[in-house]
Amino acid sequence: MHKRKAIIICFIVLCCILPLLVLFMLSFSFRWVYPNILPDVFTTDNWAEFLFRNNSLQNSFFTSLLLSISVSFIATITGFITAKWIAYHKRKNLLLTLAYFPFALSPVIFAVCLKYYFLKLGLAGNIQGIIIAQLIITFPYCIIFFTSFWNNKVRSYENVSYTLGSTGFTTFKKIVFPLAKQFLLTCFFQCFIISWFEYGLTNVIGYGKVQTLTIKVYQFIGESNIFYAALCSCLLILPPVILLWVNKKFILQQSR
């Protein structure tokens, strides 16, 4: 019985890891001709190209990083503040329904609807435009995420703090922030992942001029360059894996 269970677990683990291993292997390959089981040439050239020579790939990596960090930072902070305002508002339910609105449409359809305005405002085809476009998705997500934090209990803690002589800023620093720290980090990570893997909005609003890693992956697949596509995919996986590790190592440990 135990053996059967172990085999099933191994199979599931293998199903999860195998595609990643293939991706990793492909990023170190050069030629793979049918019907060979393994690639003909294994080389570090692809990675060396990315690390030392190919500025375009490096630019894409750092553009994606800058974009995702900016989007998650802005969305988390503004979402946290706006969620408080909504949670304590008389018309909380109506305002919260509005926050769900961007999720009623797919991001690509949403981007097509907004494309005209982005063009008029000179925001199409540049990084600022993409940050704003991605905020249209991540900002309401943060609002929905944080409305569960701003409950009556937190409000009561704030009130206790005020009556003990604390100002709004001190209450935030000494009470609200320590209570919200884990929520803020989790929300930041989730927004980062949403932004990092975002393709539709970025492609439509960026007009292909802003070359993020996801755009590059599709580009290489279109060119049938599976080795560079695999390399880009490995780079795409890297930050979320690091975030997951950080999350498990520090945040989950703290919450125990």
Partner: protein, 238 residues
């Protein structure tokens, strides 16, 4: 009078919660306010603490008009039904919270908190987190957190209502002794008849947003609407 409420009114939409409440509280006295749920007791306390804004009226504390002051500038501490200890701070830090806000030096904070922990019989719990305490212990810590800053007025909003009978009785006795030791002036809101009689030097009864203040306990007992007479008849008929 130490605390003077003058014609306090409050409405939510079209509903009138408080109808021109006037009340005087003498220094070092506890006035207990008895009333059913929803009669406006908690709203009145929140207005005094500055957590809610009144539509009309004024609040004078020690002859100073505090009506338009922020809660943090009133120096009035509100004790809720729940202890509401800050969950990320241990017992010592919860009690020391008000002193740290006032930038008192570390040695003074340590001495004051240690002394209060002894008086509240919590010295062995100092390093415990709130989730490691019983309901009664939590309320004692909440008391300590309020008392340590020596507030001119304490507002108690049914602080013992979630405790079992024995703990509740012990907490009532503890409050009475501390009130004398620290010269506390307080408003004690409750819906429990017996508690209102035990806790108050003076008793008031609130109904539909209006308040009746009794001269003494005899007047309170004789007034049919307080329900004391009915209670006495019930026990006598057994």
């Amino acid at each position: 009078m130490y605390l003077r409420l003058q014609n306090i009114s409050k409405t939510y939409g079209s509903k009138e919660i408080l109808k021109g409440i006037s009340l005087d509280v003498a220094a070092n006295n506890t006035v207990s306010i008895l009333g059913k749920s929803g009669c406006g007791k908690s709203t009145l306390l929140k207005i005094i603490a500055g957590l809610e804004k009144e539509n009309e009226g004024s609040i004078l504390l020690n002859n100073i008009d505090i009506t338009n002051r922020k809660p943090s500038a009133r120096n009035i501490v509100y004790l809720f039904q729940e202890a509401l200890l800050f969950p990320h701070l241990n017992v010592f830090e919860n009690i020391a919270f008000g002193l740290r806000l006032r930038n008192e030096n570390k040695e003074d904070i340590k001495n004051k908190v240690t002394l209060l922990l002894q008086q509240l019989e919590l010295e062995t719990e100092a390093l415990k987190m709130p989730d490691q305490l019983s309901g009664g212990q939590k309320q004692r810590v909440a008391f300590g957190r309020a008392l340590i800053i020596n507030p001119p007025l304490l507002l108690l909003d049914e602080p013992f209502s979630s405790l079992d009978v024995e703990t509740r009785s012990a907490m009532q006795q503890l409050y009475k002794s501390i009130a004398v030791a620290y010269n506390i002036t307080a408003l004690f809101v409750t819906h429990d008849l017996k508690e209102s009689l035990i806790m108050g030097d003076k008793i008031a009864y609130m109904e539909n947003g209006s308040i009746t203040v009794y001269q003494d306990k005899k007047d309170f007992i004789n007034d049919i609407k307080t329900g004391v007479a009915g209670e006495i008849n019930f026990w006598n008929s057994l």
